[in-house]
Symmetry: D3
């Protein structure tokens, strides 16, 4: 689901960052001929995400490593479960270990938190969206992990969606001129989403022809009023300081989407270890 | 302090990731000629880190942007403080905004947490170390932010330090053979640090000539015993599931260093906004 | 309007392609100290596009070259008009000449042809769109030149728009299942455009919830019927074998957009020369 | 015949340009498991060129795609002929389709036009040469396609041949000083070709020791006179505003080579479609 | 032992440097279908190093080339010995020949000279170290070849070891302040090596806590005195104008390491030829 | 004279190779604010080459460094002469020092040896040529240094000259078929040089139409005979095991060019030091 050229490039960069001129410990301690197996083990409950990135990290370093077991992304994992088992040259396994885990732990952390948000809004019409508040360079992985956790992706970047935010409105001199200028310059095959901060702005955005609105940091009461006012004519996204504590209340206002920056900007790494056994 | 070629490459990659074929919203809403100012404002207390990366993100996109105010890295910031003020073409400011903030918020989050750990051990001999559990590709920024927060950097990567961990010991067939092999292959101008899990392994590591030991996941009592046994002959690092809740207890055992993976693997983004004012 | 990192990368690649290990003729014939001026002259009527790429090609090779005159993109040029005048080291000018012209002539060729299409449909509601039938690597320049000529850009690439074409429909087993699957997987903030080949398919696409339709290779009569049927509910694009000879007839059917592959896949280079004068 | 590192790099760039963060339509419409076949079909007569680039575009995206049929470059194709047949995952085929066709249609367009020029001069001693008026970045493919069409390549770039053009002569202060300087600085194992505009300049170039001359924009009568004057002592190239209409007349003057910029600067894309069949 | 991503990148760069737009001689002289064998033959005694780089150069150009014979790195070779035998397409072999030999001849030259230095100090405690005086871009290969010849590697680069040299001491205002500052800023898990020029500086370095000393350009008598003074407390490296003529005398002073810049900055290429046989 | 994009890329690669994640010694020992001057001093007689690469190495790391003195390439230098003087931040100067010297010492070593060869043949018609036996990646610098020393460059790479060597002749089945095939495939604007090993082969090459011959490893007597036989009809290059001891004898046979592989494959680094003075 992530273009392979992106994944390979990210893995190569990460391996080069960590290996550079060589893994001096492994070169000093091993002969290079030892072989054995290794198991990635969950040390807490989690949603697994990134197992293919994990696997390819080892394979890009050493194509002769074999994976004899590999759980699939999206699976709910219990603590102590074995996520993957691999075998091959121990030198390769030890050199790739940290890089592979760094990817897997971040991605599983994102998927785990996304699923918690999805669970919190279950039964409502609201879907959880991510944002562009990702770690520089890793957006494709961060957004993939959100999908694995059950969230939907908002636009990927600045190039694939028109989202007029408060700073754009300030710069353009108001909601109405911003929407009007956009309408002239872009084809009607694109939607225009506009950020609004109160009911007055909702009205202005609708009147100016917005195709979708983002309610920014509004109270649940105001959001409910906006939902009634809009009456299903355009999709509604809620945004701003969303937490697991308040997401259900927001969802119950009837919005279509809730975007959560913390999914990717404040990730808690999933706890996963790699345990090596030497071949006897 | 971070080599400029690294910083520039990271910023360029991040800008390209977000801008790609172009910022369609800014192109649709602005004429490109609007100018104005913007302020980066803290929305919580924090330690500032990454202000130069933030600044260079704007400048690499548009060298004509001017910074009229810029606080320095390492400063303790109060909520609502203005971190930086810049002016220039609004199109450039809006296009670079998210990328610049993504760097600054992560780096300040790392520095803020590092300083909390440093404060927690103040008055003891222990210093806080980071690990290689960083986000792939951003290690130089993550480790810089740890230094800004008052921590020390452990080795940067696999190439600049010998650290024999449990998986190496398994692969090599024991602590003693691992240290012996390493001693033969590397020059005596390098130190050898060894991970140990109990007092018996501490004794073995010392006997085999380890230049430093890392106590992995040992109880405070066992750590205290290790400190007494080692008696200052080699530096001691404590590692494994360190939290703000337990770090002081670990420090009071008398270890020299405490390494904390969470500093970089589970970052809470610092809350910072950019507010734009159009020129009238 | 084109992100500068893209333009600079394209120019650098092009200069390296042409210069490689060095311009042996210039090195053999000049001392390197000669200076002078050069004029880019139109040898036919055209719409100018790419003058900034032209300018930056010289400047990336030699930042000391000065431009004393430069017409702006979008201007209608008469044969023999001087498009730009520059001065500096002749060695630099001669080395960059062909690369700079190769960009400028292609881009002006695209803009010139786009304006001819725009003129042909003037007075109708139809706007001219480009396609993804661009030269590999140059899409950002090709699409910019279309805008300069007065056309609108369709999606830039596969990542910034949902366009379900005939091969997707074949693969998905029909228009209705294709649209339904898409609707489930993407957020409602994106539009879905569907390619249709006859009135029956128009009906199916509308019924299944298409947000826009592309009429592929339909006769003018069928297009007129489709326009009536759709009645303004969704935007309509006409596509397939559009030429300057038939574009007006298509436009008069009432479609909103007409996409023209030949704008970028079959470009006639604009005729432009560079004339050098040595300084005396 | 084209170095593989060049071809692969070009294909990778082109795929990344078109796929970027992902093919959203294919991801939305297909499950990713559908397989089937596709046929590339000529929709007009043409000379085929670039079939290996076409093939490798699919294979670099998905190495499991199989080609069951593939015509060879250089073959004269009739309209409706099947150029290639491939099978595999439909998602891969649909994602690579446009990029693969963009290469194949341009290259076949170049080969087709080159063969038309070759046919026009058949029976004369003249051979058709290309120029450096290629699309930036694609010169190796453009020049390969000229060879497929039966043309000869002139120098590839600025680094592999000495060609003293009118602007060099202006800068050097005349034909004689230009040739003399070049002779001193380069080894005698290189030839020196000089552009001349009239009979007087032909005489000067020969007297100064030119190894080859390029007659620039001369009338057929003047070219005939130049051919007689030179009498076979050095190779002669004709250049400037060559078209299919006037190329035979030029060839009949007895020149050795005729260089045609339009072969690569004003390409008419060959008309080729890809038709997909889903596996039942 | 050298990270594969480094080796492959170096080989690719070298092949591109030499092949560029294509091997015009091979393309002109061969049909491309000829196959045959080639032998790499030593034309002088040497220590072999780089045979895998040699092999991979051919394989990266053409994966179908087969190596039927290949001696291993580190082996003492007699003149006329066959180092490797390969077979496959002659066009590929001829195109890769010079690049492959350029690597192999330099690396074997380094290993051969290193072994001469090792032999010259045999029986003493001294080990031969390399320096950072390598050819830009090839450090990983240069240092690997030193290891093959029996030498030890000093630090790889500026990032993996603290070595305070005379210019640092000048800049810091003396040996003592330099060591003190370093001790404060770096973790105790790193060693500090200091360059000293006389006995007084040896004393100062030891007193300030240096973990290793480098005796720079000292006379054998002074070195002997330094060895006695240090008495085994820290490792000692001798440096400066070491030659095969004086290295034994230096070794006999009792130093632990002797670093030799000439191993990599003044390499004599090993004499190796490739002889091709066409298949009959 | 070397394209700037090549020089900058080489310097950047070399700086990154040496600096990587950071210069730990300089960061540990200096505050970063110290400034001062440095002088590059020759420690032996030499021909200077590469001073601009040396200068740009410092400037690419720190654009604020100032050069107050800089001798020009090609100058004959006496031992103890000051080659360049620079001032600025000492941290920058110390970090760039080794990389800058590695370039300068190699290039000056090449120029110095080239001038010795030129002096050895002075008064004869012979000119000294280099070969493709350069260090991978540095060919543009190596060949530039040869020019600085007074030598001429042979072809740069495989793409810019036809040189049929013994292995090509073996593969093609003889000198005559090799030349004939080449003549058919390449334009007459290119010369064909052929390697020959005896008088018989000289005759065959001339008869087959070679434009230049390379006498490979022939005795002086045989070379003299070849010169007489050829009688000035084509340029003659002598090649194979040329040394300073035998080059004059070869030159006196009357050949036009003598190519010397050792100029670039067995370089003796020029002895140059950088001496820093802190500002008081």
């Amino acid at each position: 689901m992530i273009p392979e050229h992106m994944v390979h490039r990210l893995i190569r960069c990460a391996l080069e960052e960590d290996i550079g001129a060589g893994d001096v410990t492994t070169a000093a301690v091993l002969t290079g001929q030892e072989s054995g197996t290794a198991r990635a083990v969950a040390k807490a409950d989690m949603v697994l995400a990134g197992i293919d990135v994990f696997r390819q990290t080892f394979l890009l370093l050493d194509p002769d490593i074999k994976f004899t077991h590999c759980l699939e992304d999206g699976r709910a994992i219990k603590s102590r479960e074995i996520l993957a088992e691999l075998s091959g040259k121990l030198a390769s396994i030890l050199t790739a270990e940290r890089t592979a885990l760094n990817f897997l732990q971040r991605m599983s952390g994102i998927a785990t938190m996304t699923r918690q948000y999805m669970a919190a809004v279950s039964g409502t019409r609201a879907r959880i969206l991510d944002t562009r508040k990702t770690v520089p360079g890793l957006r494709s992985l961060d957004k993939y992990a959100v999908r694995v956790g059950g969230g939907l992706n908002h636009r990927f970047a600045l190039y694939d969606g028109v989202l007029i935010k408060d700073n754009h409105i300030t710069a353009a001199g108001g909601i109405t001129p911003a929407i009007q200028r956009a309408r002239q310059k872009i084809s009607r095959t694109l939607k225009i989403e506009v950020e609004v901060r109160n009911i007055g702005e909702v009205r202005e955005a609708l009147a100016a022809g917005a195709d979708a609105v983002m309610l920014d940091n509004m109270s649940p009461e105001a959001m409910s009023e906006a939902v009634r006012l809009i009456g299903g004519k355009v999709p509604i996204e809620a945004s701003g300081n969303v937490t697991l504590a308040n997401v259900r209340q927001i969802a119950e206002t009837g919005v279509d989407y809730i975007s959560v920056g913390a999914l990717t900007h404040s990730v808690t790494s999933a706890d996963i270890s790699l345990l090596v056994s030497a071949r006897t």
